[in-house]
Symmetry: D2
Subunit: 342 residues, 4 copies
């Protein structure tokens, strides 16, 4: 739509799309609003739209994805999560324990996270564990503790859901629904979170290609939920010095084709305590919009993933270092448009 | 339990386990019945059981998995699927189109499958597609067609479910619930099918290790459903001459530690029509208990995965060749016990 | 060239190619002789040749490889190695210890190999070891033992060379120069063996694509040595149940584009004693022209790769099983032309 | 040795090692000199040495590698290359074209490199190409051009050798012998460069594990050449958005166990022009001791790897950004000791 198109023009285009039997997707931007069309079995004649009032341009997106694409929305998306944002100029730091274990543990970590200036708190109440006999999470009781953390520290809550019941509960208690790597292509779950109105943090699957990750996001957006944040968390390779291989080159690759923000998880991405800080620095330097970090007050006794959790002291050192890098690069990476045309 | 233990002894052991607050799993074998215990937070003193009447031995399984293990059940499991079996001496052939497209297509393929002597028919009514805009399957209408195929040709029906609603429908219309590679670690779904009483065909995830596959089966069995068939369908590697890399060495690796039957999918495992037959032969030669093959009456017009589907004529050639290999090897691979001690 | 083209016609074409400043490669086949051209900076006008006497056809090969291609030579190559052949209808079995350790060890294994009916003996005198402190092989003394094995048992000798000095020695004492996986893209070495007149067994690199393997063979052939046998020996993936992932689908992929024979190495391809036999069976079933197998009279005391070596008794069982499969498939896999057009 | 041990004490220890039939390796450090022992078939009794004058401690290294290990030399190695250094506090930037094509091309790039403040120039005279028909490099003529660049711009020359003849020539004309990824396990070549006295830049193989890389360095050092610089240049994975997957986590992993410096190659590591700058930033942020960057005055006409080469303008922007990061992190990453104990 043209920058000065009145609301009535936008609505007329939306109505026209619906009359054709397709699904309209309104994506407002800083300067202009884009309207995506899905549900069409084949190409649509641009002539349907390009002469309508308020329409600036009718573009056919020939890539396998549409709504995630910069063709549709050239400006970067800024996703509102609780009271904070991901994708703007500020570096988003999401920190907290792997699993919610009990109130004391959670509050002790939450204090450190709040003190560091981070605005987001993470912690799992539903844990996808390789073994059925491992700790599976506290469930709704854990979510209640997270809600109390938000009230106490004004931290926005990011937490995982593994199924529809979990999504309903996270919607009730949390601020952002995390879809884990193992569920990245759980298409039924993607469609379900696409129908909620909470932002979604979508983690890349262990062997997902760039296109598969983007199309998983497209599944969510095609249902009408456009608040998607992508997350690189390491892929599975032959290399054994780290638990996974953190594939940082996907950050510029995503920024090259998509308007969605992308964050980096150096905790799962390495699985080694001593690598988390250097890889967090690298993640910020490569241009990620944020980090998600595991912090535990006593990593050796963590019920889950202790080998990769930072102590609060290590975490605070990390925050200082990544902020120094972010500041040094501000003229560069904040400018999304130019970054992608290097 | 001892081979001659009366039913009352078995039941007393089960009661004792339940009284301790744990979960008993009765796995009857040809010679003796094994009773697995799960739900115990730590090691259990074998003395609880080893002096009870009818108990032959109390073994502590120290591996991460229990119920899938040959430690618990040294004889191979034979899984009944509809009116046929997988895991016995006979080679199981499951064939049919990737997706159920319409009644004519399905019946024309089903006739070829029945004529070949195969006892199982496959076809997807719910399709996990990388893109939200690709054909997603016919849903319940497709399942009804499959049920008609069973009535007409006496073929047992194997078909995929992607979520709980799908599982309920497959239970109603089909004979075996397929869990696809992308859902291998959808733990909520695994628990759900663990509560059904239909056998489950569990496909290996694209980057799943042997232990992850076995523990996914353990998720199902820990809920009380012991009828699990594993399936190798190719892993994701750098190699690009095939769509996936069919990792046949997992077949002897599974037989080495587990009593569960395992089949091979050379169609998804290669993604190339001309490779399906040679890799099917290799799958039988390596000792797989069966094959799952995509057949389409007109591969070029298939709505899904046409590049790997065989024509009925190619499929019949494949059946002849794999039967010749199976026959040549019968003295070898039918003997599971010795095969695993090569 | 036409089937009935006299030698003088062939020579005139070769001269013409040389006059143009290019390099001719004469590849005689059962029915007709093909002459490949390399060294041309761009496309050559077919008109130069197609009207010359005896020329049947002038074909431009647009693939990155030429001499390995079925476009140039549609019939399968049969490579003569010592007194035996690889690539014809018979299954080639190359067996022996990983490393030559001493005369007694070698002769005891050689006897078992000869007794099995195999025609080729393997054993390394130069060992590429990951650590500089591991046993590096017996060198020329080991090669002399191998030459004695040939004299005693009429087995053709296949042994590895790691550098130019090694190639010279293997040419002197052995029948086939093996280029190991780690040297598959040691282009200087490939050119050097391309200038010898001994056949070359070229093993696929741990992360080599199909094209890279074929182009490594092309390096050898471009120097004038057309007797190349390819070998699949496992690739590096995330999977840890075997030492490598034996990628059998490359066998039909090679047969699909190249006339070169290809064998399978289930010993290095799995690294696990109990997997060698089943994967050897699979290699034969998929259509490989032969196998290379590690046999050691006392695997537990082997100086190298003991975990994957078979005892003589296990080896004899393997030979029986793979021969049964080869016989069952003879009508199929011996017919190379039709196999590749499945 | 003790910090104040006189030269005579050091020499007596070396003599003692030689008398025992082993090989001594003297590695002088800032505070004290370490003497490594190799060539011993088994463990050596520390009592041989610990009471000798000047000996501070006799440590048994139980890892598969010795000379590369921080157990032997806890201080970081600083490698002198021509007139400059790699591994000290300063960020080393090695830049230049992929292949030496002609004098004009090379000098135009060299000027940009010198202007940027970089101290090292790269460019290949011997090119390991996948195809035998691709441009193979200018050979000795190319090396002469590089020697002229050194004279003109005081840049230290880093250039690849692929075989012994190449090593001899690079020793004559260059300042640092590069061993390419495909030759990382060409053990004969490693031993040969171990006998030269020029520093070696050792690139990680496409599927090399951490241990394999370190042991390849150990091969060079075991021959007496201790000036080894490691280089991460991307590994082969399933991911296709970049040509390789740059595995930055190997940088802290190397620093954790080895005193050797390590640099990052974002050009080969991504193969995509637009990713080079962000991944170079990430490489510096993760703590690499330097970068190696491909620059071409006209990437579109490059004879080799044009898709990843930066223009001089892009290269200058990169240098500014990575210097900003290096400066922001100086308190952190310059302190090697503490970095490895995070």
């Amino acid at each position: 739509m043209k920058p000065d198109a009145p609301r009535s023009d936008v609505e007329r285009v939306i109505e026209t799309i619906e009359k054709l039997g397709y699904k309209p997707h309104e994506l407002p931007g800083e300067n202009r609003t884009a309207i995506g069309i899905t549900g069409n079995p084949g190409a649509i004649d641009p002539a349907h739209f390009e002469n309508m009032p308020g329409v600036a341009d009718a573009i056919r997106v020939t890539k396998p994805y549409k709504l995630i694409s910069k063709d549709l929305r050239p400006e970067k998306s800024i996703v509102k999560v609780g009271t904070a944002e991901i994708g703007g100029g500020e570096l988003a730091i999401i920190a907290g324990p792997c699993a919610i274990e009990n109130r004391e543990q959670v509050f002790s970590v939450a204090k450190a996270v709040a003190d560091s200036g981070a605005k987001f708190f993470r912690g799992g109440a539903f844990k996808p564990r390789t073994s059925p006999y491992a700790f599976q999470g506290m469930g709704e009781d854990g979510l209640k503790i997270l809600a109390d953390v938000r009230d106490e520290y004004d931290l926005s809550i990011v937490t995982e859901a593994m199924d529809e019941r979990g999504v309903d509960l996270v919607e009730k208690y949390g601020d952002c629904i995390q879809i884990g790597a193992r569920n990245m292509q759980n298409f039924s779950l993607l469609k379900y979170v696409g129908q909620t109105r909470k932002p979604v943090l979508l983690k890349r699957g262990l062997s997902a290609t760039l296109d598969e990750l983007l199309l998983a996001a497209e599944y969510i957006m095609a249902e009408g939920n456009y608040d998607v944040i992508l997350c690189e968390r390491g892929i599975r390779t032959f290399a054994a010095h780290a638990r996974n291989t953190l594939d940082l080159s996907i950050v510029p690759a995503i920024h090259n084709v998509s308007h969605l923000p992308v964050i980096v998880d150096p905790s799962h991405g390495t699985g080694r305590n001593y690598m988390v800080n250097p890889m967090a620095r690298a993640g910020v330097a490569v241009g990620a919009d944020g980090l998600i970090i595991e912090v535990h007050s006593n990593p050796e006794q963590a019920l889950c993933d202790g080998a990769q959790a930072l102590t609060p002291v290590q975490y605070l050192a990390l925050v200082q270092e990544v902020k120094a890098i972010h500041k040094a690069l501000s003229p560069v990476v904040n400018n999304f448009e130019s970054a992608s045309v290097v």
